[in-house]
């Protein structure tokens, strides 16, 4: 005689059932809206394999040019990160409750979330029209987004500092700025350096993608190669990109680890990183000379967007729904792939280190190729439309989630595990009653974070024809219909901010 008294109150059970039902419904609708069909997954796979076959052998004939473009991409990434970091510090201080004041705090917070809401690719698109093609537009785009993202990270770490030293210094008569210098900064510096390196790593990936809208660097070259069906040249660039990203990922992870655990920083890694940084100064000396003129063009562009044209708002809202659907479907697929990847690359689950390393390399590889690049490939393989966007997002973020999940699984508390094992349970029961309860809330939290990020990414898929609102955006710009551009931007930004807030709220609840 069995009963479903799973140790949870009936009211609670009904609630969780309704939540699950709601999620399934949203997912089903999203899959439909993003034109997801299971059979296309298989034909898509064979078409992609065909495409990959056409890429061989890679064409290394203009390798020197590719290297030059790599340097250009790196420069955009470095400049954007440096300047963005500098600018984010004051905003972070203003938007941390313990270093700001009552009036500036909400304003600074709002500015940060607004800056964050616009994906880098959209910034780049706007800056390219406003001030012209070239790396400078890319640097500006990175600066804006970096300030929004890093400002948030920094203000959170400032808020979590130990208040006692600050109080001590203040009570000794120090000014607020003095307290920041001598009690706040020393505490946040290690975290700060860690975030900076994370942003750098992130921004170089983004800088590659920015090429697609005309910022220069590797992206342009790849985009042209794909467009002219020169797949062998495309492969060369993809290989260079994966090597570059993997290298940077390793360096920044190593230095971050050293700093956070208080070890001496690995010298050779630091040297490589500094050399890369210095070379970027050489490659793009920022063109300060005609800065004034550029600011005027930028202003003229902004003015020309007013008043926004709301006549086609309905269409945009519908396309925005499709965009969110792409993000949801892509995240769902990513989660499905990340579960085996995550458990497979957790050392406390799989004891064969060869297998663990294999899974980890898959994770790294998936993360190495920016989703906009994947989207280009999938559009070529499965055709225009949202499905290509879903696949691109799914593949790229499966690598992220796989890595996050593995970290969660490796950090579970072993004590309850042994206690459950000591009652004479089987492996499956141990997994269900001691492992899952520990990992599921964190899995949820990470997946929500990725969903949030994927909504931003999905708005850019349309730039290469992979579905969603991005296509309308780029068309309105090409037709100089800036008043519609304004409307689209408003729809995009408000949706992203809404999702950002929703995911923050849900993430706090799941823990």
């Amino acid at each position: 005689m069995y009963s479903l008294n799973s140790g949870v109150k009936t009211s609670q059970r009904i609630r969780s059932f309704l939540i699950v039902l709601g999620l399934v419904l949203v997912l089903a609708l999203s899959l439909r809206a993003s034109r997801f069909e299971l059979h296309k997954l298989f034909t898509g796979a064979s078409q992609s394999a065909e495409l990959v076959r056409e890429m061989f052998p890679p064409d290394f004939s203009n390798f020197l040019e590719v290297l030059r473009l790599t340097a250009e991409t790196l420069s955009v990434g470095f400049w954007g990160t440096f300047l963005g970091t500098l600018l984010s510090i004051p905003l972070a201080l203003l938007s941390a409750s313990n270093t700001s004041n009552r009036f500036l705090y909400p304003i600074a917070r709002y500015i940060l979330s607004l800056l964050r809401a616009v994906p880098e690719l959209l910034y780049a698109l706007l800056f390219v029209i406003a001030i012209g093609l070239g790396p400078f537009a890319g640097v500006l785009a990175l600066i804006f987004h970096t300030v929004g993202l890093l400002g948030k990270f920094l203000s959170e770490s400032i808020e979590s500092i130990d208040p006692r030293p600050v109080e001590a210094i203040r009570s000794a008569g120090a000014s607020p700025l003095g307290a920041i210098r001598y009690a706040v900064l020393p505490q946040v510096l290690p975290l700060f350096v860690g975030y900076f390196l994370y942003m750098l790593d992130h921004n170089v990936r983004v800088a590659i993608a920015l090429g697609i809208v005309g910022v220069g660097g590797l992206g342009v070259e790849l985009f042209t190669a794909m467009r002219t069906f020169d797949y062998q040249r495309a492969l060369t660039i993809i290989v260079v990109i994966s090597i570059l990203i993997t290298l940077l990922d390793r360096i920044s992870a190593k230095i971050r680890g050293d700093i956070i655990e208080g070890r001496a920083v690995n010298k050779p890694y630091l040297l490589v990183l500094s050399l890369l940084g210095l070379s970027s100064v050489y490659f793009i000396p920022l063109e300060i000379s005609n800065l004034g003129h550029r600011m005027v063009t930028l202003w003229e562009f902004i003015v020309s967007m007013y008043p926004p044209d709301f006549s086609t708002l309905g269409i945009y809202v519908k396309l925005m729904v499709e965009t969110v659907a792409i993000a949801i479907s892509g995240t769902f697929l990513a989660v499905l792939m990340a579960l085996p990847l995550g458990f497979g690359s957790a050392r406390n689950i799989v004891h064969l280190s060869l297998l663990v390393n294999l899974f980890r390399e898959v994770n790294n590889f998936l993360r190495a190729i920016p989703e906009i690049v994947l989207a280009l490939i999938f559009v070529a393989a499965v055709g225009l439309g949202p499905f290509a966007g879903v696949l691109a997002i799914a593949l790229h973020t499966a690598g992220f989630l796989g890595k996050f999940y593995a970290e969660v699984v490796e950090n579970i508390d072993r004590k309850p595990l042994e206690a459950i094992e000591a009652t004479g349970t089987s492996f499956l029961q141990k997994l269900r009653f001691a492992v899952l309860p520990q990992v599921i809330p964190l899995f949820n939290s990470y997946s929500l974070y990725i969903l949030d990020r994927n909504v931003r990414a999905a708005t850019t898929m349309g730039l290469v024809g992979a579905g969603g609102i991005g296509f309308e955006l780029i068309m309105s710009i090409k037709l100089f219909d800036y008043q519609r551009t304004a409307t689209i931007l408003m729809v995009v930004i408000s949706t992203i901010m809404l999702i950002d807030w929703l995911s923050f709220y849900l993430r706090r609840r799941t823990l």
Binding site: Y2, S3, T423, G424, T425
Partner: protein, 254 residues
């Protein structure tokens, strides 16, 4: 009930237990004392197979523990329950779920395993779990997440989970070391009630000599992997305690 015959264990080159023999009779309640690192945890973890002795034998209920066989270990683990210093509960589950997990060892067939994993438990097990929660005085916390409970309450949940196994032996490794004295006393009292009312043998590692004297009849003291004393708690005098707990350096020069 539980019998150690000349068990020895080295970790690396370091001898942790050297020829320990000890018999705990049915329904007995003994205290295991000794300085930190003397091998108490190692000894009791041999009972349920989390530590495998290098030599010697361990017998549980007249069966020799076969460390090589997973199924034999599993059946021993069902008969022996364990309570820990840090409770080792699954934080995000409710009290009742934690207690019910003590019954999992009885869900053996594939069908039963799957049902239990989906949250289906036998009706009599759910009733038993509620009875046990009543016994330890936590019935009104049944549907609360255990991470909301106090330390003393958590340890009672852990004891309830152990009772859910319907064990013949209860192993407790410093169950009150992270509790305040008053709460700790309640827990030891509960263990004694369980021993007297349910006839479950209890082996309890603890450092509170006054409680040993008050609640236990038999004490076993271990020092550097050997049994130094095995006798009535009332015979524990200051001289003996001095000998058991004397500092390492003194032991070397002596």
């Amino acid at each position: 009930m539980v019998k150690f015959v000349e068990v020895s264990k080295n970790f690396g080159r370091k001898p942790v237990l050297s020829g320990v023999s000890l018999e705990v009779r049915e329904g007995e309640m003994i205290a295991l004392i000794g300085p930190s690192g003397s091998g108490k945890t190692t000894l009791i973890r041999m009972v349920n197979g989390f530590v495998v002795p290098d030599s010697g034998e361990v017998w549980v209920m007249n069966r020799k523990v076969e460390y090589r066989s997973r199924s034999a270990l599993k059946s021993i683990r069902k008969e022996t329950a364990m309570v820990y210093q840090l409770f080792n509960l699954v934080d995000r589950l409710t009290t009742l779920q934690n207690v019910l997990s003590g019954a999992l060892g009885r869900y053996n067939s594939l069908m039963e395993t799957l049902l239990s994993c989906m949250g289906f438990f036998k009706r009599e097990d759910v009733e038993l779990a509620m009875d046990i929660l009543r016994y330890v005085g936590l019935e009104e916390k049944a549907y609360e997440r255990v991470d909301r409970l106090s330390g003393g309450q958590k340890q009672r949940v852990a004891i309830a989970r152990a009772l859910m196994q319907q064990p013949r032996v209860l192993l407790a490794d410093e169950p009150i070391a992270s509790l305040d004295p008053k709460t700790g006393k309640k827990i030891i009292n509960l263990l004694r009630r369980i021993n007297q009312e349910k006839g479950i043998a209890v082996i309890c590692v603890l450092h509170h000599i006054d409680m040993v004297r008050e609640y236990f009849e038999r004490v076993v003291a271990i020092r550097e992997g050997r049994v130094l004393f095995d006798g009535r708690a009332t015979d524990l005098d200051e001289g003996l305690l001095e000998e058991i707990y004397q500092l390492e350096e003194e032991a070397c020069t002596a």
